[in-house]
Symmetry: C2
Subunit: 490 residues, 2 copies
Amino acid sequence: MRFPDSPVFTGYQAPSRVESDIGDLEVLGTLPPELRGTFYRVGPDPQFPPKQGNDIFFNGDGLVHMLRFADDGRVDYRSRYVRTDKFVAERRAGRALFGAYRNPYTDDDSVKGMVRGTANTGVCLHADKLWALKEDSPPVLMDPESLQTLGYHTFDGALKSKTFTAHPHFDSETGEMFAIGFAAKGEATPDIAYYVIDKDGRITHEAWIKAPYSGMVHDFAVTKDYVVFPIVPITSNEAWLRQGRPHYHWDPRVPVYMGVMPRYGRAEDLRWFKGHNRYSTHIFNGWNEGRRIFVDTAVAKGNPFPFFPDITGAPFDLGASAPHVSRWIIDLDRTDDGFDEECYDHEVCEFPRVDDRLQTRRHRYGYISSLDVFKPWTRSVATERPMMMFNSMSRFDFEEKKHERWFIGEASTLEEVQFVPRSRDAPEGDGFLIALLLRHGQPHTDLAVLDAMNVTAGPLALVRIPVRLRPGLHGTWVPHWKRPANPLRR
Amino acid sequence: MRFPDSPVFTGYQAPSRVESDIGDLEVLGTLPPELRGTFYRVGPDPQFPPKQGNDIFFNGDGLVHMLRFADDGRVDYRSRYVRTDKFVAERRAGRALFGAYRNPYTDDDSVKGMVRGTANTGVCLHADKLWALKEDSPPVLMDPESLQTLGYHTFDGALKSKTFTAHPHFDSETGEMFAIGFAAKGEATPDIAYYVIDKDGRITHEAWIKAPYSGMVHDFAVTKDYVVFPIVPITSNEAWLRQGRPHYHWDPRVPVYMGVMPRYGRAEDLRWFKGHNRYSTHIFNGWNEGRRIFVDTAVAKGNPFPFFPDITGAPFDLGASAPHVSRWIIDLDRTDDGFDEECYDHEVCEFPRVDDRLQTRRHRYGYISSLDVFKPWTRSVATERPMMMFNSMSRFDFEEKKHERWFIGEASTLEEVQFVPRSRDAPEGDGFLIALLLRHGQPHTDLAVLDAMNVTAGPLALVRIPVRLRPGLHGTWVPHWKRPANPLRR
């Protein structure tokens, strides 16, 4: 068994595939005693070499990583693959049976009709279970401590959508989870299902809408009163799949649409707003003041994904692919169906996050992985995309409209930044920032812990994982007051 | 928690501490289809920084590694710490409670009287259990597949010795296991217990002898008719422990003694032979032709261990510390109580092994880790001892008295070599050599697989473990005909 020699499978992107338990991680520096809870993170880490000879980074099996900060200051680590139906079938076969990213036509006959999900994109805790998420399939539930896979979750059959977002949102006051499924009636369908899920994990509200065009609806926004569905021009078409072309193509000709609906509304309440051709995939947060809705996100002028070609045949434009901190403003009292865009910063960035307690409400600070182009950085040979080569961690102040930044050093890549409040009631911004630092060519990976009010000072501590991890995608922090961080010791 | 900045805890000797499962290891090259079975290997990998601030390499917690070559050609990897009493108590405490190597006077009061073993030196399969061994304590049994620790083993109380060797020997015809315990009545006692254990794991014979002086009896030899106890001048003294000095001191003034006894004999049958002051710790194998006994071993003229000081205060002598392939010959018909030594080679080497099927019988080939001083090699900063820096794998032909060698390449260290017969009945030498290659500064470790009849050609295959492993000590091969190598897949 051998992985291909291509950039996605070599160097710092080489699969790691390690499932491990490591007690008492080494700590360089001093951990703040308030940092108690569990950090989960997931990413694609292919179990087998790709069936079709090569692959894109997004198409690997989901490997969940857990760092547990116990009350006594000790940190334990555990990682486990999500036992998706795909993972189990391929482990049995000893080779890849599923083919290209979101293209069932490339699969082995033996797995036709099976759920293709890899559970590799998002992870969150809700209703006392860990949810491992890939937007092409239902959620997979896991035990939050053992990381044992419990299986695909259809809410006892109530989930009619074939898909479930990797970016659910939460209202910390009501305890509700908000989710969408796009391509909800099958690959490349324009149907979007919207679900409200209560704190006990039951679907309490559902709505079905149709997007103006079919494409990747990777994230969405929920405010106190509204839900916003951004339709961006990463378009899909069933015919391309049958032709063996990439699932998505960038369409520079179509506008961004923003579908706005009351938070507990139905399809007939939906209203579409229209903007320039733009890219946005991840959202800091959304909120509304009366009938004005704000969606803070990272916006680029062009296609961010070189492996999803431009539908017009235009070459990939690295400059246009760079996202910047931006705000989309929708005024429900406007009559022209347009919306406004404000770009606040020229920093290149991705993986926007806020203090999770403020989801659906106004935030001041955003936290983001960024690229300091005046410092050494590794241009991603795999994708030629800034996303995979962040060399800095930034806090963006939406009041002052400025960023503070920490350069992580050479030969390292920063993952998504997670804000950890100092205490349950700490004011916004008072707490810590944590993020994994991938150390290129090194046998370890570090979790950096920074003072969120003093980013430029760099880490208070580095927690060292003595394994090289493959780059991952998204993570979540579960504070100890939400669920105790029991030690993993045996 | 942080390990010291000393050589034993940094660089390629830095603790790894990773317990993991990895399915379907990557293979570079082609694995021979006959290679079916399980390779076990153990080494010291300290769970916690040393209580006394620094430590010697030998004093870490035993971490067992298993590479399983299944019938379908897939290779799985698993590693688990041995849950010794020490490991469990320290994990609970979150810090080291046991102090210096074999010195109970340096322990925390809370663990006084507990078994101090780390189970970090040897590993073997007998009576369907995996035995993890440290010569200062009883064996620890483990499940050979899950690597779950079953606990210390005293043969239902029949083991009266406080200790049990890390180098038991086996007679493949009778299925018997032969073991000693030295310092059998407590640290620094000259008492040696000798045990014969049948194929079902029961003690069937026992003898107690007293060595001419107290010291490390790390290995011994068993032949068809005799057992040989080599007493080498790595001496011990209870007073040193109370004084906080190292457990062992090299004594250049005393001879090597060889105690010879019939295989099923008693203390009164024992006869001592005497030779020059020498070092030998590991034995290829022993056999006898009538009343002539042959013990093939690696012999050095001086102290091999810089951390065990010379009792006379003499400085460490790197040249004298280098072991060479040698033979000790004892003639029971000699009347002067001397024995002969023949040195066959000027290659620097350690970790001698033979085809395990030939233990107690005459062998032709020895397999050994060696140092090609004309090729790049890493001088061990930790110990200044050749043992830790082998850059070559050698087969020594005891008939032709010459070696064949493969240089493993730069920035790598070779571990103990294991011979794997091609089949149950393959002639001696017909099979494969396997050994771990530690890749300094790399995030992976390779298992090299060579044709045992063509060592100079280098590996047929490299099996890649995507984790940096700390240097280990000894291993064992369990062929599939002895115990099936079931896949570990879940």
